[in-house]
């Protein structure tokens, strides 16, 4: 049986851990608030931009812009967005699982999969398995900026235009609520005119004949690359918000488990104390009886 001192030591240790998890939860909460606001502000813009492009792409000639080109798929680029730091529950595991499944599917269908990663966790995952990566970025998840997003987007655009890659999907955690993240696999390039299950825009397709000013090419030249930037930026922000939310709930759970543990250990401690007092009393009583004898 553990001695009183051992139990006391363990209680102290658990309490220290609890202090840390509590602090981490608080830090995550404040970080989340910041990034969440930015993300919520960006969402309508990103959605609208996507909508505008969709209705455009429907009427447009596929040849009119290199980023619209539908080529026979040979190489599919999978961009995996994870965090740099751990301690956020199943956040990274979920993404990596989904990414792996996605890659396996492409391979099964006979396509070449090219992988690029954002965040240390994804990089380490593929490195450990000896899977080559085309490119990896780290140090972004903590401070997402539009410049970061542009850097990634430019690389992807260049490779798409060079025809090193023929299709781009982004795998990231979308922020759904404080307690839920959804793994999202979003197709970035080439722009698909009609998404499956998006029949609501049927009315819009009737009005696909736009008047363009100054010209269709001029608009495409600006709008399409910008859309890639924005969608990447959005994925990064969503992922960052989801990461903080995941960490928050993971830390909340850890704090709760610590409380439980402290309760259990205190009970054990009290029992042990009681037992030792009883034992001492018995000794004294026994001694007195012996003296009487």
């Amino acid at each position: 049986m553990a001695t009183l001192r051992d139990i006391k030591k363990r209680i102290k240790a658990v309490q220290n851990t609890q202090k840390i998890t509590k602090a981490m939860k608080m830090v995550s909460a404040s970080k989340l608030r910041k990034v969440q606001n930015r993300m919520l502000d960006l969402r309508p813009y990103a959605d609208k931009m996507h909508d505008v492009l969709m209705s455009l792409a429907r009427g447009a000639d596929r040849e009119s812009h290199p980023l619209l080109a539908f080529r026979p798929r040979k190489t599919v680029e999978v961009v995996v967005v994870t965090s740099d730091r751990g301690l956020c529950g199943a956040f990274n595991t979920n993404i990596l699982k989904a990414a792996q499944r996605c890659i396996n599917d492409y391979k099964k269908d006979g396509f070449e999969a090219s992988i690029s990663t954002v965040g240390k966790k994804a990089r380490d995952y593929f490195k450990r398995r000896g899977i080559p990566m085309r490119k990896s970025w780290t140090g972004i998840s903590g401070n997402v900026s539009f410049t970061n997003a542009q850097e990634i987007a430019n690389d992807i655009k260049d490779n798409f235009i060079n025809e090193t890659i023929d299709e781009v999907v982004v795998v990231y955690n979308a922020f759904k609520s404080m307690v839920a993240q959804t793994v999202t696999v979003a197709k970035l390039l080439p722009l698909a005119p009609i998404e499956e299950g998006k029949e609501s825009s049927a009315a819009e397709s009737a009005m696909a004949d736009f008047i363009y000013e100054p010209s269709m090419e001029a608009i495409f030249d600006r709008l399409i690359p910008r859309n890639v930037d924005i969608q990447i930026y959005r994925a990064l922000l969503e992922s960052s918000a989801a990461e903080e939310a995941a960490r928050m709930s993971a830390m909340e759970n850890a704090t709760k488990s610590c409380s439980e543990m402290v309760g259990k250990l205190t009970l054990q401690f009290n029992k042990a104390r009681q037992a030792s007092i009883t034992g001492e009393l018995m000794d004294i009583v026994g001694g007195v009886e012996a003296l009487k004898g």
Partner: protein, 133 residues
């Protein structure tokens, strides 16, 4: 027939405006244009400028820095890099920005001229819009 236009102004920093209006005038890259309900589908780039809408007897003025406008029969969507309502514009800041841009233009070899010109144009337009209200 649609009687109102749904005007939606969004920027990367949030939703700025969303309401039904009667009439819109905006500055496209090829010049000012007006939109009434039942407009033909129309897509244009916007230059730094002003956007006015009329809703009944109410008029609103916005400062729009470059972006895009998608016009449909019953809706207008503005995707702007930034947009501010005329009474939300910080005139002091705009004036300071104007001065800074002017100074930079004077020593053009040290700074990016195109950027300074754009900054100057934004500042002047902002002040202009703010004084309109």
């Amino acid at each position: 027939m649609a009687e109102k236009l749904k005007l939606d102004i969004v920027t990367p920093h949030g939703h700025v405006f969303n309401d039904d209006v009667d009439e819109i005038v905006a500055s496209g890259s090829e010049g000012e244009f007006g939109v009434l309900p039942e407009h033909v589908p129309f897509l244009t780039t916007l230059k730094i400028g002003m956007l006015t809408y009329k809703k009944g007897s109410e008029t609103g003025i916005f400062f729009i820095s470059s972006g895009y406008a998608e016009v449909g029969p019953d809706k207008v969507t503005i995707l702007a890099d930034s947009a501010e309502k005329s009474d939300h514009i910080d005139i002091e800041r705009a004036k300071a920005a104007m001065k800074r841009a002017e100074e930079r233009l004077k020593q053009a070899e040290k700074f990016d001229e195109a950027r300074a010109t754009a900054a100057l144009e934004r500042a002047i337009t902002r002040i202009h819009v703010a004084e309109k209200k």
